[in-house]
Amino acid sequence: MSVALTRDGDAWLSAAGGVRWVPVIGLEVHCQLDTRTKLFCGCAYRFGAEPNSLTCPVCTGQPGALPVVNAAALELALRAALAVGAEIASQTHFDRKNYFYCDIPKNYQISQLERPFCTGGGIELSSGKRVRLHRIHLEEDAGKAVHDRGQTTLVDLNRAGVPLIESVTEADISSPEEAHEYLTALREIVQYVGASAADMEKGELRCDVNVSVRPEGEELRAKVEVKNLNSFKSVKEALEHEIARQIEAYESGDEARFPVQETRLYDAQAGETRTMRAKEEAHDYRYFPEPDIPPLTIPSALVAEQRRLLPELPAARRRRYREELGLSDYDAGVLTQSRDVADLFETVARLSQRPKESANWISNEVLRAFSDPEIPAARVDELALRPHDLAELIGLVTAGTVNTNAGRTVLREMMKSGRPARALIGELGLEQVQDEGQLEQWCRAALAGQERTIADVRAGKTKALGAVMGRVMRASQGKADPRRVRALLLRIIGARE
């Protein structure tokens, strides 16, 4: 792919052609529902468990075994659907999708074709553009075939029967960036409503893309499905490569090279897509209504209950944080990355009555803790920290009881031990020294013999104060208030800021 493309709005142009090519993109996203048990049996599922240890006659497709729908899966699916504004069907049924593969023990997947549990809905991008959803349906996952042992293929059926929702967009997406943004927003939403952990590395979120290009204003051309996208980054990159490939193929003028309807695999290492199967090799899935599961009526009371359980969604929170709490776009974005962080922020902000300071402490200190080897937590609920303790600490720092540096130390201890701020400040002896005489004594000691510095400061180079301040802070063992020390030093020297 050597063709150099420039972009102008939604259009892609090559130096040679002069044609304005517009990509047409649709996404199919599978999210694993965060239920205790699988979709049709009582087996639990854990990523990384001993192969085939989480199975039973139902999810291994033993002769005679029958599926029974897990009501909790339907509830989570409803919640996700309501969060994207989809219309819930009053009646839904499952269909069998028939195809032969070793990781699908019945050689059919129980899915939904004719009457999915919801239709419509959509997600708004930051540009204001709305990506419409065609449908979302419920289905069971397949197991995993592992081919990496020479001629042997091993099959692990732990994942077989795990509940998934598959959401399919309309072809409303026009660029790799929009696809990335849509996917990010969708992930946030399913995480916020508690429907899915949506961790792509664990396969809890999987994305296939459909992409074609057409000259601006012209009719749709052959659509290519790209699979094997293992990260958000690869979704974006695969789209970039595939769009470029299609444009180059059309511009070559060689009809034999024109894109055809097919399924391609993305090779992230080589940075290219390759044919997986052509249209004529496409499966005939022979869908028909699943006779083992009668049609389900979705009671309106259940829908209302799930609607009631919907939390405020990330986009709405970001808007509120900006408009009502005065946070920056950046802070609003960081704090709404996950629901537990946003919830923590809102509690601390409410208790401390200081939203900006709360935002700073959480985005700078709390989130950093997740990469701190001494704090064995990867999520907010794994920290020992209690929100009202953090709120109190923010109050103490603002009041000058402890300085910011000491506050950081206290917070780290709070996240480890869960002990209250005041107790830690006392124990660690971090309370600031208020005694003016003591402070002055430290300042004079630090200035002794520093005539050059004093002269510099008097000449306006206040930067030179840094080293002296450091000495004062060391002498106070961190208990001096840096602002007061600075003011005091300037007064002693007889200089101004």
Binding site: P57, Q62, G64, V68, R96, K106, D284, R286
Partner: protein
């Protein structure tokens, strides 16, 4: 075989054990002796679980001696069709593809039998995956009719029907998808009852046509059918198609043996012009007997009956093509290596493992579900099925039950129809509409007749009574009234090898 054992139905056998006339151990010994005596010739059983049955009998005797309350089927030997899962027992569906497969769990209805004190003595022969009407599709070879061993016992629950008819067991379970219990019951001269679809949990019944399959008992009396249906019916949380109702309860009619005030519908489509004359004569006599005990006969029409066979062979084969997809050599059963690739292995396994009739039906089912053909075949069949259901609903606005022959012919000769699948399919023409409508039906012996094919010995004829959906208990009571009034019409099968 002990004459006493052979004479007793399940109800009487249990009573005799509780009266101290016999132990469970002796009952099992008599049962096993009967199997030894008769089954070499009849081939009803694929496997006999002697040790398990003896151990269980000894345990039951000990529990009774210890004062435990006996279950409803206490000490009763029962045979299971080879498509019913019992943990650790070979459940092959009479197919090479599942030869040697031992079920890793126990079916709900089998567990209910065991909980009621029944003793499972063995697994019976059948048409492979319940596809067939003669037992000739079994990979183990055919079962023989005790009335004439050159003839079919019917199918697909062939072994279960024969085990009851030849007095090897008082009670057996079969499965009925399009007539697979009622038709062999008729051809073997025993009682066979297909409950309303969903009445008995299918969890652990290896699927053929999921929307049609129903576990169905065979017995020598209506009261035994009531007894066992009471035990195995009732909602099962493992089968979402099982009726959300408690087990059936026996109903008692106002006047036992009388059907005064009942209306019995006689559909003209169930007495076609080509009905075997002996079958017609027996069934007309049975209708007269119903009338004699007070029932009013009402001629009526089920106009969509002629579409039943084509409809059934679309719906059932479509479901079967999907249900049988799992037999691919990956996880259980036979594996043939083929060319070593995954598709090659699957194809070779299925080619080697399935018999010709099963392959025929998988191909049919695959075809009718294929892109572009679905609407024309499967979609239309579903519509036709709805029309047939409507036929029955309309009929039951006028009548309490519908009566007619179970099978258009008496037992035919083995080998006679193996090369003519359509003729074979027509053996189910009168039972299939009932299955498609999901309503309950019972086949009862109503006399014997000479076959139209020139055979010399008389063969049993079955009368089918059909009731509205969920009317199982009432249908069985009406059947019991007929049973009581028709003792003189029934005959015992000849005791030994007869030709």
């Amino acid at each position: 075989m002990s004459a006493a054992y052979a004479r007793l139905d399940a109800t009487a056998l249990r009573a005799s054990i509780l009266a101290g006339e016999r132990t469970c151990a002796r009952t099992v010994a008599e049962c096993l002796a009967g199997i030894d005596e008769r089954d070499g010739e009849l081939a009803a059983f694929l496997s006999v679980e002697r040790d398990w049955a003896r151990e269980r009998a000894a345990r039951l005797d000990a529990r009774l001696a210890a004062g435990e309350r006996p279950g409803a089927l206490f000490g009763v030997p029962v045979a299971l069709k080879a498509n019913m899962c019992t943990e650790g027992i070979e459940t092959s569906c009479a197919s090479r593809i599942l030869a040697g497969w031992r079920a890793p769990y126990t079916a709900t209805f089998v567990q209910r039998l065991l909980d009621a004190g029944a003793i499972v003595v063995g697994v019976t022969n059948m048409d492979e995956f319940a596809m067939g009407s003669s037992s000739e599709n079994s990979c183990a070879g055919p079962t023989r009719n005790p009335w004439d061993v050159a003839r079919t016992p019917g199918g697909s629950s062939s072994g279960s029907a024969v085990a009851v008819a030849a007095r090897m067991v008082p009670l057996a379970l079969g499965s009925d998808t399009g007539g697979s219990v009622r038709q062999p019951a008729a051809m073997c001269g025993v009682f066979g009852f297909k409950p309303t679809y969903g009445r008995v949990s299918r969890y652990g019944l290896i699927a053929f046509g999921s929307s049609l399959d129903q576990v169905s008992p065979l017995a020598r009396s209506v009261r035994d059918l009531e007894l066992v249906t009471e035990v195995i019916s009732g909602h099962d949380e493992r089968d979402s198609t099982s009726l959300a109702e408690p087990p059936i309860e026996r109903e008692h009619p106002a006047a036992p043996g009388s059907l005064s005030g009942f209306r019995v519908g006689v559909p003209r489509e169930h007495f076609p012009h080509d009905l075997e004359p002996g079958v017609r004569a027996c069934c007309e006599a049975a209708l007269a007997r119903l009338e004699a005990i007070g029932a009013e006969l009402v001629p009526l029409s089920l106009p969509h009956t002629p579409f039943a066979i084509p409809t059934y062979y679309v719906v059932a084969t479509a479901e079967a093509s999907s249900n049988l997809a799992r037999y691919d050599g990956v996880l259980f059963g036979l594996r043939a290596e083929g060319d070593g690739t995954l598709p090659g292995m699957m194809a070779a396994t299925r080619a080697a493992g399935f018999g010709p009739e099963v392959k025929r039906r998988i191909l049919l089912g695959t075809y009718v579900l294929s892109a572009g053909y679905y609407d024309e075949w499967y979609g239309r069949a579903l519509k036709a099925r709805g029309l047939m259901r409507d036929d029955f609903e309309r009929a039951f606005e006028q009548v309490d039950v519908i009566a007619g022959p179970t099978s258009p012919t008496v037992a035919f000769r083995l080998g006679e129809r193996v090369d003519d699948p359509l003729a074979m399919y027509l053996a189910d023409a009168l039972t299939v509409p009932v299955s498609l409508a999901g309503v309950p039906g019972i086949s009862m012996p109503c006399g014997c007749a000479l076959p139209a094919d020139g055979g010399a010995g008389e063969l049993p004829v079955g009368l089918q009574l059909v009731g509205p959906a969920r009317s199982d208990a009432r249908l069985l009571r009406i059947a019991a009234a007929f049973e009581a009034a028709s003792e003189d019409l029934r005959r015992e099968p000849p005791p030994g090898s007869a030709r």
